[in-house]
Amino acid sequence: MDFMDLIEMPRVDNVKVYRQIQNYELNQLVTQKLFGSLNLTSHHLIFITQTDLQKPREEIWIVHSSIDSLEKNVTEAKFQLMIKCKNFQIYFVDFPTAYCCNSIHKSLESLSNLTTENMKLPFFCQTISKINQEDWNFYSIEKSYKRFFPNEDSSEWRISEINNDFKISPSYPKKVIVPKNIDDQALIKSSQFRSMGRFPILSYYHKKTNSFILRSSQPLLGSNNKRCKEDELILKCALPKGKQGYVYDLRDASILKTAVSKGGGYETEVNYPLWKRINKHMDRFDQLHISYSKLIDACINSSTQFFYKLDTSAWFYNIRQALYLSFLIADEIHNKNGCFLIHGWDGLDNTLLISSLAQILLDPESRTLDGFIDLIEKEWLHAGHPFSKRYFKSAFGTTPQKQEGPVFVLFLDCVRQLCEQFCLSFEFNEDFLIMLFDNLYTSEYGTFLGNNQNEREQLLVSSRTVSLWTYVKNEENIKKFINPLYKINDDVIWPSIFTQSLSLWSNLFLRYQINSKPSDEAKKEIVKLVETNLQVKIKVEKLRNDLLELQKEAIDVGVLNSENY
């Protein structure tokens, strides 16, 4: 298929575009009205204003894949298309005729809903910068292993390459960390007993207390109560003496019966005697999608009952729940003797959310820029979070398959809440999180393509597209993402999870509605304060050295008596 087949009308003249922009002087939202022509290319909708002597030409570029939903409003007098973007920007376009309106609408519907990965933007953007293999290989399991177990010989864990051809578990990475005395045959058996073949693997090892987090998918107990000796053995072997194992099942206990009747299930007390099962409810990704839509709706139509609408969106409930559960896990791991196996249904969504948040609380490394990128690679990309499915639509759109759900957006919001509560302890800043959000839905970089490592390999992502980390690590860009106040904090951080302690992510969810200039000014001022402080420190250091030199000289020539100093 060619893009051109989808474009009936590459250009329409006499088009009006309306968008809400901020009038900084009045600190008010005003509707900007532009006249010009609309152009459709294979990847962009480009609006160009008519040349006018008074005003410079303006261009608006909208990537097709950034369009979340299209609403056509054609009456006798008006031929209007409303374009809602995945980043919450909204445009209204008035066409001169119903025919153009319909035609553009039809083309955009197809172009913005292309599911073929190969036709996505990153494959056409190799020129943005050179493909750098190092950035594609920034993360490796060996790196994690080395961090968890600096001394390999005394470790009870090993790296298994059983999934090297993605056969055992298509959504797992090639290499995983498992207990040392479990052989690959047992892993195969266990994978057959777990949904999508996702057998228990090591997610995080807390060196300070030798406690750990494992994650997996649900066991396939089924209504005839199947069991798997090898699966039981993995959990038994993993748990050292003196530790208490907890299975954190992120589903409500009331739903387990249904799970069993559908062939799934849970770890029974009889077969896993060392492990205590705890059911903690988290909204599933599809429920979370509804929550997200309500949240954005409250933000856009905020005139009445704003706080009530925020509350009923349940977005804050989900943030609190996620932070609360990771808090409990971190507390057990760091202060008590708990070790964890986390899963929900398939272990693709909430499991990853909770395990990565717990790591951010526990592990200072994950609060650095590099460590955070590692965490995203390990706990989301390599762990098989289905990025392509979950972020095909944002808050305005849906698909009939209902596979969309903003679990990673919730993760970013939780991390931002932590950044706000611990403004010194994170090396990266809010802008970094917003940049990740933007690249999640539509990107020139290949990092978030596909649903797992397997798919990314088949698409040859690493040789055909540029990694997002290449962009991040660029000297000019990285500056924008660094928190100037960062100081290494080796402690575990304990966030507050009261609703009062949380805030709405206005720089993201209200990004097209608020005036960001005053807060940008404040950010610049903070950088200035830090720089001034640094310069004075350097100056003092130099003066002190000078003074010492002088004293030494004076003593050497006998002007000063050394005993006085």
């Binding site: 009045l26 409930y317 507050s496 609703t499 302690s501 304060l529």
Partner: protein
Amino acid sequence: MKLDLEESNVITKIENVQLEDRSNSKIKTAGLLYLTISHLVFIETNSKREIWIYYSLINSIEKLPLSINGSPILIRTKHFLNCLFIISKERDCQTLVQVLNQYSRPTKYHELLCFRENSHLKKLLDSTHKNNQQIYHLESEYARMGLPNNKWTMTNLNSDYQICDTYPNVLFVPASVEDKILQSSANFRSRGRLPVLSYLHPNGASLTRCSQPLSGFNGRCDEDEQLLQHILMTNENSKFMYVVDTRPKINAMANKAQGKGYENETNYKNIQFHFIGIENIHVMRNSLDKLVKCADSSSNSSFLTELEKTEWLKHIKAIIDTSVFLVEAINDQNTSVLVHCSDGWDRTAQTCALASLLLDPYYRSIHGFQVLIEKEWLLFGHKFSHRCGHLFENDKEISPIFSQFLECVWQLQLQFPCAFEFNETYLIKLHEHVYSCQFGTFIGNCQKERNDLKINELTYSLWDYFQSKIYDFINPLYIPNSVYSNSVLRPDTRIFSFKFWRSLYNRFDSTINHSEKLIDSLSMLSYNTSSLQEYSKLLEKVN
């Protein structure tokens, strides 16, 4: 303020007391309660941690149903500390309630803390001097605005508070107006609070304030109408002026039946009359009560819904909306505005002060902000003692009007982090000391009353105390010459711009507040920079 228990006069001691954690009722700490003549003191047995509560700050004492551990008693303070003590002996509990009731609400001004000997403040402030309270002269503030000039003049008509006892003794009025007119206008206004100048903008448009006219259903006063014409004439840039009644229309209508009311547009030439709709003191008091409970509820799964129900932020929004209306009239339309509510000392004070703060960057400096409070609140007779309940008087008079003003300023600080010289801590401390009665500054209901009480001679000034701690209050992000700090502020007043003020309403809940406070670390950084700069100067000299 750290005090020593041995130096304080302990009346009685209560043993076997447990303090229950507000966020987790399972956590209780054991300790002792001391009742001194000025404080309730709780000392934890294990950690020796101390909680000192000024009696004057106690807002409510509530006995809860008996539990197996003893009698629970919930004490809420005016600065939002909530303590639930469980006292094992019922008799002790009765003693506690009795002492607190006796000491927390004195009936006479001279029983208030600020009139007592205070060795701590003496040490701190006597080195400066005691009554620096005259930081503010009305004349000098109006001189800053370029007054008197050919349009506006100062009148001594109220030098003995004879025409209005709740106004200051000097007033600024149009130069063209005769005393006779002022006198008659005062007679036609509730409590004699005639229209006088609050703030003059450089473009000539003025902000004037007054109380409601005693018009009833069709009363009118020729001189009052003339006074408005004189005010209108001081501004050459506009052919009309606004009269803003900050009350909801229905409240103003109800006042008509009592012989009060609002200006009839047909009687006053060239005025545009507006109702705005800020609710009255009773609504505000109830709203705060709900807010405090909402912030305190330990299992607040529906906090946001509860917050919505309190309507608190809706009221805050209404005050800022009104102030923005005043700013747009004065600055953008070059049109003067006369503001009033009922008596012109609550909603009028809020909106005139906020509008001035938005219009003039001077009021966003530490000194300017004090001047603003002195002028719009203290001198123009906001009834601090009544509204704060300093004495045991009518509870129906209590209302968080000034607190709302402070919160509005805080909301503006959030939107414009670089526009204010003072920080959030300043507002929180100010809020505390408006109620604490340690300083004379906010005691009494008007200038006349403070003069009669000899506040300046007998008490310490809060402003002096603040001056001695000024480094705690400076906003390290303040940029005096930035776009936002140097011009008219235009806040966004859509509802999502308003936030719940956690650091005030949950001030003492460490589990709710953030662990690493941005403002604190920035202040530390600035402090570090300035001391290093000092040091480097010293080193340069030595070298």
